[in-house]
Subunit: 580 residues, 2 copies
C-alpha cells in the first residue's frame, strides 16, 4: 500500500481575474504545503474563473491564460513550493487541425495542468463538453481525447474534468484500463436544490467503474446566475465517503489516502494515455490525519446560503459594495433585505419605502419594522408627486396607471443608484416572473434579482427559516412576522391581492415546477390532478411572459431549469400549450 496526503482546495475564483486567481492559488498551495500534502488540486478553470463563456473565443484571453499558467508554475517554485505537485484548471487551446471547418484554427479547450518544479509537466483537456441547461461548452471548446495519468509518490492519479464523469465511457473507463489508483476530478458544478445527493451517488458509481478512489473537487462562489457550492467529496473504490468539504465556503480538504502502489509501467502505456512520472518513490509510512467530513445544511438552509453567496459575489466581483432596494412591507422585499444584510452587511444596504395612496398602513409599518430589525439604512419617499405629474399630462388609467406607480418607484431607485453608487436589487420572485405578474421597468428594475429563481412558497419557507435561525441563536429575527403572515398584494389599486390575478401560490408553484422545470405538457399536468382551467391559465401566462423574462436582471439559480440563460425560448411564438 502507498499513502497519499491529498489536499483539495475548494476555492472561489473570479472570472477573468488571472492575476488574482493566481495569487489565490499560490496562497492555498502554501497552506497545503504546511499540512504536508503530497498533491494539491484546484477546481475546473480555477485560473481563469468559470464559466468564461464567449471570452474563450477571444484569442488574447486564451493567450493570457496560457501565459499565466507558465508564470504560475514559476512563481510557485519561487515561493519554495516547487516540490509539491499542483493540479490547476485553466484555459488552453488545441493544436491546429482540430477544427472541422478550418484546419488552421486552434480551438480553445477546457484544460487541467500539473505544475511541478516550476514547469507544466502534464496537461489534460476535458473530453465531454456539456451543452444543455446553463452549459454551452460545445459552442466554445474543442474536446480532448487523451487521458493524463501522473504518478505522485508511487501512486497513479488520472485526471478528469466535471462532465467527463457524467457521461458513460471516456476518462472513467480509460482510468480503469490505465490502472489508476485515484481519479481526480476538477469540477465547476453549480448548486441545484432538490437534487438529493446526486453527486455522491455519481462519484460512488464512477469510482466503482474506474476501480479506484475518486476525488470530486468543486468550485465555490457566485458567478452571474450560477452559485458553486463546494461540497467536495472523496470516495473509495467501493463508493464509501472518505471525506467531504463544507458547502458554500472556501476550504482546504486534506485527507490521507491508503492506495495500492502502482503496478503500471510506462511501457504498458496504451494509446491515448499520456503518462508522467512526478515522484516515483512512495511516501514513508506516517500516521494519518483524521478525515474531515463537513455536515450538510438542511434543504432550506442551503438555498438561503446559495442566495447570500450569489448576491455577495455579484456585488463584490463587480467592484461594488452597497445595494439599494424598495421596501414595500411585503415578504419578497423583506427577504431580499435580509439576504442583502447577510451578504454585504446592513450598513451597506439602503432600503426605500415608497408608499402610494393605495399603500396600507401595515405596509409602511412593516417596512419600518424591517429596517429596525436589520439595522439597514432606511428612508421614506412617497411617490404621489411623481405619479401625479404623469397622470395629469397623460391621462393613464387601469393597468397603465398601475404600472405607472411601479415605474415611478423604479425611477427613484435607479436615481439613488446613480447618485449614490449602489447596485439596485429587484425583489420579484420566480412565481411572479414566470407568470409575468410584474411591471417591466417597474418592480423588475435592478441589476440583480436575488429571488429570480425562488418560487413564492419557498420565499415564505426561507423567511421562516432565517427567523428561526436568528431566534435559535438569540438574535433578533430580521423579517417582521406580519410580512410573513399577511396575504400578498401589489397594492397598485384599492383592495388588490395577488390571488385576484393568480391561482393560490401552492397550486401555482406546483404547476410551474412541472411545466417549467419538468417541461411537462398540458395533458400531463391535468393527468397529475390539476384543474384544467387553472392549468390553462398558468401555461397561458407563462407562455406570454417570455419577453418580460428576457429583460429581467440576472439572479442566483437554484433549480434544474430556471428562467434565464439556461432556458431559451422564442419570444415570438404562436405555440399555445393549452391547445395541445
Amino acid at each position: 500500500m502507498a499513502q497519499l496526503r491529498l489536499a483539495l482546495a475548494q476555492v472561489n475564483a473570479t472570472v477573468g481575474d488571472l492575476g488574482g486567481n493566481a495569487e489565490m492559488i499560490r496562497l492555498w498551495t502554501a497552506k497545503a504545503a504546511e499540512t504536508g500534502a503530497h498533491l494539491v488540486a484546484f477546481p475546473e478553470m480555477a485560473l481563469t474563473g468559470y464559466p468564461v463563456e464567449d471570452l474563450a473565443l477571444r484569442t488574447s484571453f486564451v493567450d493570457a491564460s496560457r501565459e499565466a499558467i507558465e508564470v504560475l508554475a514559476a512563481d510557485l517554485d519561487s515561493d519554495g513550493l516547487g516540490e509539491l505537485p499542483v493540479v490547476v484548471g485553466y484555459l488552453d487551446r488545441a493544436a491546429a487541425g482540430t477544427s472541422d471547418g478550418d484546419p488552421a484554427r486552434e480551438l480553445p479547450q477546457n484544460c487541467a495542468a500539473v505544475l511541478h518544479h516550476g514547469a507544466v509537466v502534464a496537461r489534460y483537456a476535458k473530453h465531454h463538453l456539456p451543452t444543455y441547461g446553463v452549459f454551452d461548452e460545445a459552442r466554445v471548446f474543442a474536446p480532448g481525447h487523451d487521458l493524463a495519468v501522473v504518478r505522485v509518490r508511487g501512486v497513479d492519479v488520472a485526471l478528469a474534468i466535471c462532465e467527463d464523469i457524467w457521461q458513460e465511457g471516456g476518462p472513467v473507463s480509460m482510468a480503469r484500463e490505465a490502472g489508476a489508483e485515484l481519479l481526480l476530478v476538477l469540477n465547476g458544478s453549480p448548486y441545484e436544490r432538490d437534487k438529493d445527493d446526486t453527486r455522491l451517488e455519481l462519484a460512488a458509481r464512477r469510482a466503482g467503474q474506474a476501480e479506484c478512489a475518486l476525488a470530486y473537487l468543486n468550485l465555490v462562489g457566485g458567478q452571474d446566475e450560477l452559485v458553486f457550492d463546494g461540497d467536495s467529496i472523496v470516495v473509495d473504490a467501493a463508493g464509501r465517503v472518505l471525506a467531504r468539504g463544507p458547502q458554500f465556503v472556501e476550504d482546504l480538504v486534506v485527507l490521507d489516502l491508503d492506495l495500492a502502489e502502482s503496478t503500471f509501467h510506462p511501457a504498458d502505456v496504451t494509446e491515448g494515455v499520456a503518462f508522467t512520472s512526478v515522484t516515483e518513490e512512495a511516501a514513508p509510512p506516517y500516521a494519518a490525519r483524521p478525515a474531515p467530513e463537513a455536515p450538510r445544511l438542511d434543504p432550506v438552509g442551503e438555498v438561503y446560503q446559495a442566495l447570500v453567496l450569489g448576491l455577495r459575489d455579484y456585488v463584490r466581483k463587480n467592484g461594488m459594495s452597497s445595494v439599494v432596494l424598495g421596501l414595500s412591507g411585503g415578504i419578497d422585499s423583506a427577504l431580499v433585505a435580509a439576504i442583502a444584510c447577510d451578504a454585504v452587511g446592513p450598513a451597506n444596504v439602503y432600503g426605500v419605502s415608497m408608499p402610494s395612496e393605495y399603500s396600507s398602513d401595515h405596509s409602511k409599518d412593516d417596512a419600518a419594522d424591517l429596517a429596525e430589525r436589520t439595522g439597514l439604512n432606511y428612508r421614506v419617499q412617497p411617490i404621489k408627486p411623481m405619479v401625479e405629474a404623469f397622470l395629469t399630462h397623460l391621462g393613464l388609467t387601469g393597468v397603465a396607471e398601475e404600472n405607472l406607480q411601479a415605474r415611478c418607484r423604479g425611477v427613484i431607485l435607479m436615481g439613488l443608484s446613480n447618485q449614490e453608487g449602489h447596485l439596485t436589487l429587484a425583489t420579484g420572485n420566480k412565481s411572479e416572473l414566470a407568470t409575468g405578474y410584474s411591471t417591466i421597468y417597474g418592480d423588475s428594475v435592478g441589476g440583480f434579482a436575488p429571488l429570480k429563481d425562488v418560487p413564492k412558497t419557498l420565499v415564505w419557507q426561507l423567511a421562516n427559516w432565517r427567523n428561526a435561525e436568528a431566534e435559535a441563536s438569540g438574535e433578533t429575527a430580521p423579517i417582521p412576522p406580519n410580512s410573513i403572515s399577511k396575504p400578498p398584494s401589489a397594492e397598485l389599486r384599492p383592495g388588490q391581492v395577488d390571488q385576484d390575478s393568480l391561482p393560490p401560490y401552492e397550486k401555482l408553484d406546483a404547476i410551474l415546477e412541472l411545466y417549467v422545470a419538468g417541461a411537462q405538457g398540458r395533458a400531463q399536468l391535468i393527468e397529475a390532478g390539476f384543474d384544467e382551467a387553472v392549468v390553462d391559465k398558468v401555461v397561458s401566462l407563462v407562455d406570454r411572459a417570455e419577453w418580460k423574462r428576457r429583460q429581467f436582471a440576472p439572479g442566483p439559480k437554484i433549480s434544474a431549469l430556471a428562467f434565464g440563460r439556461d432556458r431559451r425560448l422564442p419570444i415570438t411564438s404562436r405555440w399555445r400549450e393549452q391547445d395541445s
Copy 2:
C-alpha cells in the same frame, strides 16, 4: 436526360403556428401544382417555424409537430395535391437509444419529410448541428446519420438540411456515392451583411463535390433577432447559377432542370442510404420555362429591407399592430420612424416628441418635420413637470439627473404603450449599445430595438439610402436632412454632443467591428493602426457595458457576431482587454 420541374417555396413560417404554417404549405403547394411542378420543397422546419429553440425540449410540442406532418400529408391529398411530392422541414424525434446518458430518451431531431399520396413516404434527419453564433442545435437536437434519396420522375434527389453542407463530409459525400442527380438543401439561414456571396460560393463548391445540381432553398421572415432573407439559389454540377429567388419576400421559384436519368438501383443501396421511389418514370419531354433570376439588392438596401422585415414580423407575429417611439429630432429615431412606417404603415406609428429644457429648437422642429414627411401620428409631451417632481424630492445631480430625463421619457412611452396597446420601439443604435452610451430603463426602454445591430455610421448610410430611394421615385424623402447633417447629441445637459464621451463614430465603428465581430484583441487593434488611447477607451467601454446589453430589447441581427443571444459574455468579469 430527364427533365424535372422543381418548385422552391421560400415562405415565411411562424414559430409555433403549426396550423397556420400547414395552411401556408397547402396554399403554396397548390400554386406549385398550378405551374405543373414535379416536386415542391419548403424550407427547414417550415411546419414548426425556425428556430424553435427550447420548445424542442417540450414533449407536447414535438408530438404536435409529428401529428401535424401526418395531418398535412392527408390534407394535401384531400386538396387533390397527393400526386405532387412535397418536401417539408419539421420537428420529429429520434428512436429511443440515441441519448448518451439515458437510453430510453427520444431526442428531438431537425427533420425533413417527403409527403406523397397522403402519407409520409421518406424522412431525413439533419446530420450537422450548428452550435455557434445564433445556433444552439447541439443543445436541443440529436444528429441524424442516414441519407434520404427519393426518386421523382426518374431523377434521384438527395436531401440535406442547412449546416449539412457547411461542414465537410456527411450528406454531400453520401449524395455523390449514392449517385444523386440533385441535392435539395432546406435552409433556415439568417441574413448577414458584408458576407459577399458566401452561400453561392458554398452551393457551387458543394455541387462540385456532390457531382450533381444543388438547390438551396431558404426561409423568409423575421423571428425575434433573426431575419431570413430567402435568396434561394439553384446551381448545376459545375456551379453555374440556374435560378435565384428574390431577397426578403416570399416567392415560388420554379425551374426546369435537365438532369441525368438515374442509374442507381435499389439493390445498390449502400449502408446509411434510405432510398424511396416516388415516381420511377421520367416526365415526357416538354418545353422548359424561362428560369427566374431575381436581381440582388445593393449592400445598404438589403440591410434596410432586413430591418423592415424584422420589425414587421416582430409586430405581426406577436399579434400587435402599432408601435410607439420617442422622436428626438435626431437621426436614430428618424431612421427608426422611417423603418416603422415602411413596416407597419404610418397610420400605425405613434411618434412622441418629449422635449426637456436642454432640447434645442432644431430638435423640436426636426421631429415635427419628420412627422409631416412620413404622416405618422405625432404628439408633443414636454418632460419638465415629471423631471421636476423627481428632482424636487430626490436632489439628483450629474449623470443621475441626465439619466432621470431619459427615464421619464421611458415612463411616458411605456404608459402610452400600456394605455393604447402599441409596441414600444427603442431607438438606440449598436455603437451606443456596445459602449453603454445609453440610459438603462431610459432610452433603452422598448420591446424591440430596430437598430440594435446597426452601427452609427451605417445609420447615416441607411437614412441617405432611404431618402434617395424616395427621391428617385418622386416621393417625399422621409428623413429630415437636418437630422442627417447635424452633430449627434443626447441633449441631456447644455451643449452636450456624443463626441464629448465617444471617439468619432468612423473610428469607433471600425474598432467595434474588429473587437466585437472579429474578436480581435488590443494588440491586433493597435497593430491595425488605431491609436492606443482610443483602443483602450473603446475596449474598456465595451467590456463594462455587458449588463446593460443583457437588458436590451431584441432587434434584427444583421452582422456575423452581434450583441444579444449570439454573443454570450460573463457580466461579472475582471478580464481587462487593455491589460492584455
